[in-house]
């Protein structure tokens, strides 16, 4: 099993390539897990090899960075000879926690925090320094989580452990705090070359936009709001010539 660990880690980095509405990330997780199964007694001729791939390649969903944990756990049960029905129960039981913990920890916590820190560094130091700090800060967690196959069958303990809980609590506070610090700094940086009336104008547009975004969410997404405002501004500028 150890031989396949590096290959599995690399494959989890492309785990969502075949994401689809029928099986979600199932094909990707089966593809990532396959190297871990090659050392089963009898190798690929072992009936459990194909059965495990078949099981996982059906419907499966998890946060992409935690699919390594799923692959490790699901491969481990094959080596331990756990009955197939029980292995399938584990597979189904993993779907909810691996999705919700990952979404909360990464998408709603670590990612916005890393981006906000990147913006702060970009404004206070230099934009290239901001880019580098975003990439390093974010990927420390990303690549660490991707190596979650080490947990094996202990995946439940990892998800409920103090480290994961601490990470969730930290990122839930750090993300909004970092965004709060970043917004005024970025505003000051972006508007430095604008005159007083333009700064006032940007403030008014920002407030009206915020109000619209709050009232009309989720219909009026950010990109739609931007297109609406900019389309109107381009038309006004064209007529105003």
């Amino acid at each position: 099993m150890k031989r396949g660990m590096l290959a599995t880690w690399a494959r989890t980095l492309i785990v969502q390539a075949s994401w689809n509405y029928d099986r979600m990330v199932g094909i990707g997780v089966a593809y990532a897990m396959e190297p871990l199964l090659r050392d089963l007694p009898g190798g690929r001729t072992n009936g459990r090899y194909a059965a495990a791939l078949k099981r996982v390649a059906g419907f499966f969903n998890a946060h992409p960075y935690l699919t390594g944990m799923a692959a490790g756990a699901l491969a481990r049960v094959e080596y331990d000879g756990v009955p197939e029905a029980q292995a399938d129960r584990l597979r189904r039981a993993l779907i909810g926690p691996l999705g919700s913990v990952g979404d909360q920890l990464v998408w709603a916590g670590w990612l916005p925090m890393s981006v906000a820190v990147g913006l702060i560094v970009a404004v206070l130091v230099s934009v290239p320094a901001g880019v580098v700090s975003l990439l390093i800060l974010y990927n420390v967690l990303h690549l660490g989580l991707a190596a979650g196959w080490r947990a094996g069958i202990g995946v439940a303990g990892q998800l409920a452990g103090r480290v994961m809980h601490g990470g969730l609590r930290f990122s839930a506070a750090a993300a909004p705090f970092a965004i709060g610090v970043a917004l005024p700094l970025v505003a000051s940086w972006l508007l430095a070359d604008f005159g007083g009336s333009e700064r006032l104008g940007a403030g008014v547009v920002g407030l009206v936009g915020l109000l619209l975004a709050r009232v009309l969410a989720p219909t009026l997404s950010g990109v739609r709001l931007g297109l609406l405002f900019l389309g109107t501004a381009i038309l006004a500028a064209w007529l105003w010539r």
Partner: protein, 222 residues
């Protein structure tokens, strides 16, 4: 043709692939994609400004599961190509407008790729349900190829749109400043709405408020 066209095309494709299919190491974030695209287009300052502005738009995204969200990687590349060589902040407004169009197109094309992946999985149901590793590999890697083609085409469209806007968008100095002002205002509206949605009604609001106070104090102290 835009300066550094082929490099921008390659970079836009990589940034588009990073959105979902390959890596997700965040090189497709607008701050990263826009900054490097500015360097490739010969105007790092313009790329940085476009990247920072688009990053505010991207702050609202929660890329969970099958959610639909704009592809800001190729968008930032197209935006940087639009703003490159335009003095000061005058290129910012048109650049953000181009980037939002490209980002929106990227969002729609991701759905096409996902439907293509679904159809591919259905066509290969027998092999997948037999646990055939070769079939599994083929279906998976075809999904990545599909997404690479998508990212390439979105970037081609973005760079073409950038060229059209640079040549033919009839904005004078006053108009360019107006559009730039609206772009920055809209970016902050989206970022603020995203931040409020992120924190919900819990203790996160207090952290956000504390951050805003410290950030504002920092600006005043500089």
């Amino acid at each position: 043709m835009t300066d550094g066209f082929w490099w921008l095309l390659l970079w836009g494709t990589i940034a588009g692939l990073d959105l979902v299919s390959a890596g997700q190491v965040m090189v497709g974030r607008p701050l990263v994609a826009g900054t490097l695209a500015g360097v490739l287009a010969g105007d790092p300052a313009a790329g940085a400004m476009v990247g920072v502005t688009l990053e505010l738009f991207a702050l609202e995204l929660l890329p969970v599961g099958g959610a639909r969200y704009p592809d800001y990687g190729p968008a930032a590349v197209a935006g940087a190509a639009t703003a490159a060589g335009v003095p000061g902040v005058l290129g910012l407004g048109p650049a953000v407008a181009v980037a939002l169009v490209v980002g929106y197109l990227g969002e729609r094309t991701v759905q096409i790729v996902r439907r293509g992946n679904s159809a591919d999985a259905r066509r290969n149901r027998v092999g997948l349900d037999a646990g055939d590793p070769a079939c599994l590999r083929r279906v998976h890697l075809r999904g990545m190829l599909r997404d690479a083609i998508r990212a390439l085409l979105v970037t081609v469209f973005g760079l073409a749109l950038a060229e059209v806007v640079r040549r033919w968008l009839p904005l004078d100095l006053r108009g360019a400043v107006l559009v730039g002002t609206v772009a920055v205002g809209a970016a902050f509206a989206v970022a603020a709405a995203g931040a409020l949605r992120l924190v919900g009604r819990g203790g996160g609001r207090a952290w956000l408020a504390a951050g805003l106070v410290i950030g504002a104090a920092w600006v005043m102290a500089r």
